[in-house]
Amino acid sequence: MKEVSFGQYYPVSSFVHRLDPRMKLFFLVAFIVAIFVADSFYGLAVCAFVLALVVAWSKVPVLKVFRAVRGVLFLALFTAAINLLFHTGETVYWEYGILCISKEGILFSAYLILRLFLLVICSSMLTYTTTPVSLTDGIESILTPLKWVKFPVHALALIMSIALRMIPTLMEETERIKNAQTARGANFESGNLFKRIKAFIPVLIPLLLSAFRRADELSDAMEARCYKGEKRTKYKKLQFTWRDLVVLFVIAALITGVALLRVYVGEIL
């Protein structure tokens, strides 16, 4: 699978990379809350500042961070445009029928875009700095209390990690089969939609077969090693460290800051 690198994980060693995944998840939730609490540009500025700190500490190249925004660029511009044209305000610059551009509209659109970008960047920081495996470990640990209501947390986490584990393998497999069929003259690139879908049958059938074969083999291998589900020990134990304590303080400062700004400074305009 040499040509496909799965997910977004950016492999460097940094402060953020070494954080406990649970803390990172908690930070993401707290950050989202902060963004929605912040109702002024000052509040968002505080959020942006904290996020900039995270990016700096993560050693992920800034360019890569901004690339995360590309996916939602259209959505962001669309929402902004709609708000720009329909948001009415006191200072109107231009008007046509029900459409109007006002100072308030401009500010509100900017506010929306900023909020969306902060949101996307923060969540992609999580995937940039956390391997899928440690993310599932974190989720499993967070969901542990659900065991009291007989929810199969462990099984769920295992399914998640196997699925994640298998994505690159299946992608590699797809690539291989595609290559093999291309060598036999298959054409995946031209023709109308129907033709193209049909062209994928010679890839999909072997791929499905191999997925089932792998599932069979994996379950056999697990049973052969006496897998029973519960009561497994972990190879990598999650542990809170001083780093996570630092993050906890950052979160506390962020929420307090944003809340104070909301109370004492007020809305955007």
Partner: protein, 308 residues
């Protein structure tokens, strides 16, 4: 068709933390009519190299970046990359890769996992239909004849297997059907990546016997990538040794396997015959043979006869 590669370099995931240089300035010529072997450690670039040969890995993009790299003062520009298969220039974007693939058949590792059709005959005919000239419709009889020939070439009986599902066949049969699906278009060059992997010793012999039958008649040139040194020693006319993306040796097996220590140093095995020759050498018995079992036995017997 002759295969010529000069200064071929390929980097996977270039400009990312996962960058891997799979081929590093590889120059290699494979003459028409050869039964060419490629050996090397896992990750030595063998598969990457052979995938270049029918443009599954495209040349131009990787090469352009390679050329664009800024030169330091006084530094000579890197030598131009050449990759030619017959008259097809693979460094040229405008080359008809589709036509190329018709002439260069490729059998991947475990080819039986690429079978997909409901019947053996449909699966074998897949390539045939894909490569049929545009606008020309193959008649049922033509298809039947070509599929029949291809199945016969791999030692299967059309009447027996044609209407079966490929998934009902045995492992060895599946692999042969997959090979038939590649040679059905009569490619001039046939490339096989580990054709005998995972088969039992008899199955291995059978596949190699089959390849010899195909070689010369169906396909002028056969290139095999293999880990099995005995297989290479028995069958190949020339062998290229890959190591870390570079070509270390290109020699006939009779000469190559004399370099016992070098090969072991590269983490490779040597054929059983070479091991025996070395063991005899340690006991003071010099034996020179071309490392095929047949020649080894003959020389050994001659030795005994001469000594008596």
């Amino acid at each position: 068709m002759r295969i010529v590669a000069e200064h071929l370099t390929h980097v996977y995931n270039e400009r990312s933390p996962f960058a891997v240089k799979a081929l590093d300035d590889v120059s290699l010529t494979i003459e028409e009519g050869e039964f060419f072997g490629i050996i090397g450690h896992t990750g030595s670039g063998k598969s990457t190299f052979v995938q270049h040969l029918n443009a599954l890995i495209r040349m131009p993009s990787s090469m352009k970046r390679y050329r664009k790299k800024r030169l330091k003062k006084g530094e000579a520009p890197p030598p131009a990359t050449v990759l030619k298969v017959g008259d097809f220039d693979l460094t040229d974007k405008k080359t008809d890769f589709y036509a190329l693939r018709k002439h260069v058949g490729m059998v991947f590792q475990y080819p039986e996992y690429q079978l997909f059709a409901e019947t053996v005959k449909e699966d074998v005919a897949f390539g045939l239909k894909n490569f049929a000239e545009k606008g020309k419709h193959l008649t049922e009889d033509e298809i039947r004849a070509a599929v029949g020939d291809a199945l016969a070439a791999v030692g299967l009986d059309y009447r027996e297997v044609a209407d079966k599902s490929p998934f009902d066949l045995s492992g060895g049969q599946k692999r042969r059907v997959a090979v038939a699906g590649v040679i059905v278009t009569k490619p001039e060059i046939l490339i096989l990546d580990e054709p005998a992997a995972g088969l039992d010793p008899l199955g291995k012999q059978e596949i190699m016997r089959l390849l010899h039958a195909i070689h010369g008649g169906w396909c002028k040139t056969v290139v095999i990538v293999s880990h099995d040194m005995d297989e290479i020693a028995e069958n190949c006319t020339h062998v290229a040794v890959f190591d870390g993306g570079r070509v270390r040796y290109v020699l006939p097996p009779a000469e190559l396997f004399r370099k016992t220590d070098e090969l072991i140093g590269l983490g490779l095995d040597i054929p059983l015959t070479a091991k025996l020759v070395a063991a005899l050498g340690r006991r003071g018995i010099e034996l020179s043979c071309d490392f095929t079992t047949e020649d080894f036995i003959r020389k050994t017997l001659a030795l005994k006869g001469g000594g008596a």
